[in-house]
Amino acid sequence: MPTNGVPTKITQGSGTRGGIGESTLRPDGTLKVTGEFAYSSDMWHEDMLWGHILRSTVAHAEIVSIDTSEALATPGVYAVMTYDDLPTDVKNYGLEIQDTPVLAHGKVRHHGEPVAIVAADHPETARRAAAKIKVDYRDLPVITDEASATAPDAVLVHENRDDHHSGHVPHPNIVHRQPIVRGDVDAARRRADVIVEGEYTFGMQDQAFLGPESGLAVPEEDGGVHLYIATQWLHSDLRQIAPVLGLPEDKVRMTLAGVGGAFGGREDLSMQIHACLLALRTGKPVKIVYNRFESFFGHVHRHPAKLFYEHGATADGKLTHVKCRIVLDGGAYASASPAVVGNASSLGVGPYVVDDVDIEAVALYTNNPPCGAMRGFGAVQACFAYEAQMDKLAARLGIDPVELRQRNAMEQGTLMPTGQPVDSPAPVAELLRRVKAMPMPPERQWESSEGADVRQLPGGLSNTTHGEGVVRGVGYAVGIKNVGFSEGFDDYSTARVRMEVVGGEPIATVHTAMAEVGQGGVTVHAQIARTELGVGQVTIHPANTQVGSAGSTSASRQTYVTGGAVKNACELVREKVLELGRRRFGSYHPAWASAELLLEGGKVVTDGGEVLADLVDVLGDEAVEVEEEWRHRPTEPFDLRTGQGNGHVQYSFAAHRAVVEVDTELGLVKVIELACAQDVGKALNPLSVIGQIQGGTTQGLGVAVMEEIVVDPKTAKVRNPSFTDYLIPTILDTPTIPVDVLELADDHAPYGLRGIGEAPTLSSTPAVLAAIRNATGLELNRTPVRPEHLTGTV
């Protein structure tokens, strides 16, 4: 168990309903189905203005001049601001490297970069005024790939870098480089009976959360501002916003508004500072809501990648070595690129035993759209490539692809390429066995007595086939994802828990700054409080910055870390409550001296089940409150030359089996079924766990067959910033997703749980690709697969 907090036994009180392990329903469910849940775009204030952002129309250019006079003269416009209007010397922000201008200064580095902001009394007035701002650009050459980024005469995307990665990168247009070297690849290669090589391309995926970037900034009487915002991490936003505004952090109050999904796309700031600047400038509340077009420009995307792999194996199918190079396109600003590099490299060979590895991952600075966090975070791109390699190897060796994976599957005790031992269950072979054992969907399921149901065929209601030219394929994949922030990051969460009697009943209040983005953290917090404190009623306090940081809702970490903080705070509250009880009633019953007392069903009970007192009587009119930070085991940075180090907290594993049908004449794919087996350690809320697995699986399906932000390689301009042209899976595109949940406890984690949100996004994509390859016999080295890749009409 972690050493933080008070080590007490887990109390899964039979007398308390709605605790961990039950599929309790969301506390915000009723508000969300009645339309009353207040999302960030629903915020409204008397007398509020609307903000709008003018974005660059070119990817890389010097700004010769900006003329705002006509915009300012527009009736209904209250303010127009550019770089020159920023109030302090802090004019940049960024998650790790502060390289992102609040408003462009002198040049723009990507298509859609914010140049000016406008506040007006109607959103359309603001939009039209922004369109009247004249920006004179002088084009610069665009950097769009590794060759153009690292050419000897390459234009530097960022000149005069002084960030902490700048000293070790081979070129200033490389954000970060992480090699991982272990064993002797050259020697191992000589032992290999077969070697397979591959070059893979992963397209740029968008988070495509449905709730657009939005929020309301309200100026306050003390000169501060209150921001109601959809984000993944309130305190990270605060740390970046306050210096730009020139305000101390206690004058920037932040309250989490309803968040319509995130998936990594809200880790970076979007309109936060802009809304605050306009509110402080005008003295009026300012609301900014992106439309979908702006949203595609307003947040970072998943890094597109080029991946080069060499796998060797002996004739009996044991991996001898893996050599790989992963080139991630970070776009114009660093965002989370360094951490994505760390993940891509350290997880680059997948959940397999390989003693001899030579891995290199880099992220580029280019003039493409900035890329950063998205569900799966560097591990997704690698999984797509190493799983394709495993299939290639299986084919060369004549071994069943699942069997080959099982022969090489890591298990508890295996060393990662970083030298870190996997010190909790790693049921890779078992997950593959389970997913393979699931019943197969029936053949020709689209046939009925009334003929073909075209809705179940490739092409669907377009009625392109009644089964002619349709072939079926099956594919498997498995992946490994880290949980929590890695590489020595101080990844803590804070929880404040209060227990008191209200209306004659003991209730607990849980207050954290955790961003509920849909994942169900609020459900789980209430369950933890019920389990630990034996109360029926739990109030989840709205998330804000009036309590310490809860870290980011990312990296599959919230149930582990903020859940761990809530558990820890509850344990401390319980100790205080028991202390109170001992003071009040200890002399009446010797059992009060026991260290094994529990809170269950609103009572203090012995571990034998004897009731000592009602919590109502123990508490009386006292409230017991604890606010405490909680940390998981510390991690270490990866060595910059060898990549060695205990860099990760925990690993998460999932396996998929995809069944697809392909219309080979038209190149249309219908995914028939996408089965998943995942180890979750302990399912705190089984219904939510399955929902996460199915949702993550579907995002993996999307990038397998349809999702890609298309960037013009000549101009670095985004070609498809809309849901008309950037397609995400509809309910017709998404198959049934049977899920087999395995629960093998990780003894290092609260309740033995494992972070689960991301792992299913990894193996879903390569499983679908493997199934399409199986159906068509094509090599398919890029994702997403488009019809022309299947028909040979590229």
Binding site: Q207, L210, G260, A262, I690, G691, G695, T698
Partner: protein, 190 residues
């Protein structure tokens, strides 16, 4: 311009509406009914689905002026609407006249407070079909309308009917479960 129309059974009047405003904007920003959502504002995602004289439409694609004198039902009025329907003529489906003649019950159709949930709303909660919830209002309106037309849908029917509503969180499986559950409860008269 001024627009008079009926929302969730109540006459509404919106003043100073600019001609370019959508029905979605008027509902959200002028009438205090933000339940209909603004995920794409280009008719691709279905999050703004409302019923206009009984027909499901993307309210972002309806010019506000087009609703003059017409009947709109939003997610805020869905529970009352379903309640009214179940107390109706006993036949399946809602005719245009019925839709136009429908009046809200409950305490406050502006905020949706005070009413019971409709079967499909309850099923979405029970089945775990709500995560971030941004797609939920549009899906509820669309699913409720589908169940009105087709009380015993096949899976393929459900997928077809809801194919205009994007969800990014759930992978749709729990949404399928919810609609199946609502249909089953409806057929059992629960």
């Amino acid at each position: 311009m001024r627009i008079d129309f009926t929302v969730n059974g109540r006459p509404q009047e919106a003043d100073d509406v600019w001609e370019g405003e959508s029905l979605l904007y008027v509902l959200r920003e002028r009438l205090g009914l933000p339940g209909s959502k603004n995920a794409c504002e280009q008719g691709e995602c279905g999050s703004c689905t409302v019923r206009l004289d009984g027909v499901p439409v993307c309210s972002c694609l309806v010019a506000a002026g087009q609703v003059q004198g017409r009947e709109v039902v939003t997610v805020e009025g869905l529970a009352d609407f379903a309640e009214q329907r179940s107390c109706g003529t006993g036949t399946r489906g809602t005719s245009l006249d019925e839709a136009k003649g429908w009046q809200a019950e409950g305490t406050d159709s502006q905020t949706g407070e005070g009413g019971e949930l409709s079967p499909v709303q309850q099923a979405f909660i029970d089945a775990g079909a709500v995560q971030c919830g941004f797609c939920t209002p549009g899906l509820l309106v669309a699913a409720d309308e589908m169940l009105e037309r087709n009380p015993d849908p096949t899976d393929a029917d459900i997928r077809e009917a809801l194919s205009g509503n994007l969800c990014r969180c759930t992978g749709y499986e729990k949404i399928m479960d919810a609609v199946r559950l609502a249909a089953a409860r409806q057929s059992e008269g629960v």
